[in-house]
Symmetry: C2
Subunit: 204 residues, 2 copies
């Protein structure tokens, strides 16, 4: 077992591995599609594809956009834990990132996080933004729906339903199917919310 006692200002030791995989697989259009598992309020697993929107600037926190009305919000309010499964089809690498999610909605009490939410809104395409003005996801489609065009001012800030998720990894299980190598990165808090990472090679 190797202790990674890098200074807290440095990136987590698995981050460079993930960025390399993203670089190697960037020609695949869905290489930023990840599967996010949560636990429903009745204790069952839920799993869906979401889009990796990058890391919060200068951190190891993963950004995901979502609709406040989607069922994953209900799941996360009940149980903040999530596991991301990220399979890179070209390099045959899998990352399983296990951690907690912070929901940054319109009522979030921290101004700098609200700024992040705004930034992520403006970084989205107009088409993506329009989804948050569409009818409630998961509710029945009625036959008589007005096919009205929704107008969206490109300069207008995030709508109520737009939500930013901040995923904070606590453990990362990395598997390389080409080399048949597997490493598990685990973290422990060393005070002030800072993490120390430990990496261990395990059997695949």
């Amino acid at each position: 077992m190797e202790k990674m006692s890098s200074p807290p200002s440095m990136a987590a030791p698995w981050k460079q591995l993930l960025l390399s995989a993203l670089e190697t697989n960037k020609h695949i259009k869905h290489s930023r599609f990840i599967q996010l598992a949560t636990v429903t309020p009745n204790g069952k697993p839920a799993n869906r594809t979401v889009v990796f929107r990058g890391f919060f600037q200068g951190t190891d926190l993963i950004q995901i956009n979502t609709d406040w009305r989607s069922s994953k919000i209900e799941d996360l309010k009940n149980c903040p834990f999530a596991e991301i499964c990220w399979y890179f089809a070209d390099s045959w690498e899998q990352f399983r990132l296990s951690g907690r999610i912070d929901i940054i909605d319109a009522a979030y009490p921290d101004l700098s996080k609200l700024k992040d939410r705004e930034k992520s809104w403006y970084a989205s395409s107009l088409n993506s933004r329009l989804q948050y003005l569409a009818p409630h996801p998961g509710l029945p489609r009625t036959l008589e729906e007005p096919a009205e065009g929704i107008d969206l001012d490109p300069l207008k800030g995030p709508v109520e339903a737009f939500c930013l998720l901040e995923f904070d990894a606590e453990k990362v299980d990395y598997l390389n199917l080409k080399t048949n190598e597997r490493s598990v990165y685990t973290s422990e808090l060393i005070g002030d919310g800072l993490k120390q990472w430990v990496v261990q090679k395990v059997h695949p």
Copy 2:
């Protein structure tokens, strides 16, 4: 809402949709890779890539091979529910299949299921089979490991660690990102373990 009151001998209404997606995406080498979410004994979500091995003959039950020593077995013994997320990269279709998993290990009390396990073993490549003879997955790699070649008789039946999972869908959430259509298939038991499926179009 449309009731699908097909005779019980017929396939579930979502099965043809899934088979079509498999056909459309068959040129993609990882189109049979799916993400399986479970709940760990401490109530957290877990998520990993597994391989779809087909449907059990004449049924809607999905086959997955796994190692009895992997952590998903512990998860499933504690909570038999799972959700499969299956994203088809070429046709932009997502299936979220929610249901229960039956673990068919060497000690399974039903002979016909043990036959299925045996069939699935022989249907696997020799390389795949060798994995089940490898050291315990997830345990630390030691420095002094003998690099011995393991001999496997191709005619020999399944080893102890080889396990067949039988996934029985109770709900299927289908999303087509090209047409922006989403349908939810839910089932109810109508006696004798038979299911009736209901399909509803919902907002994506």
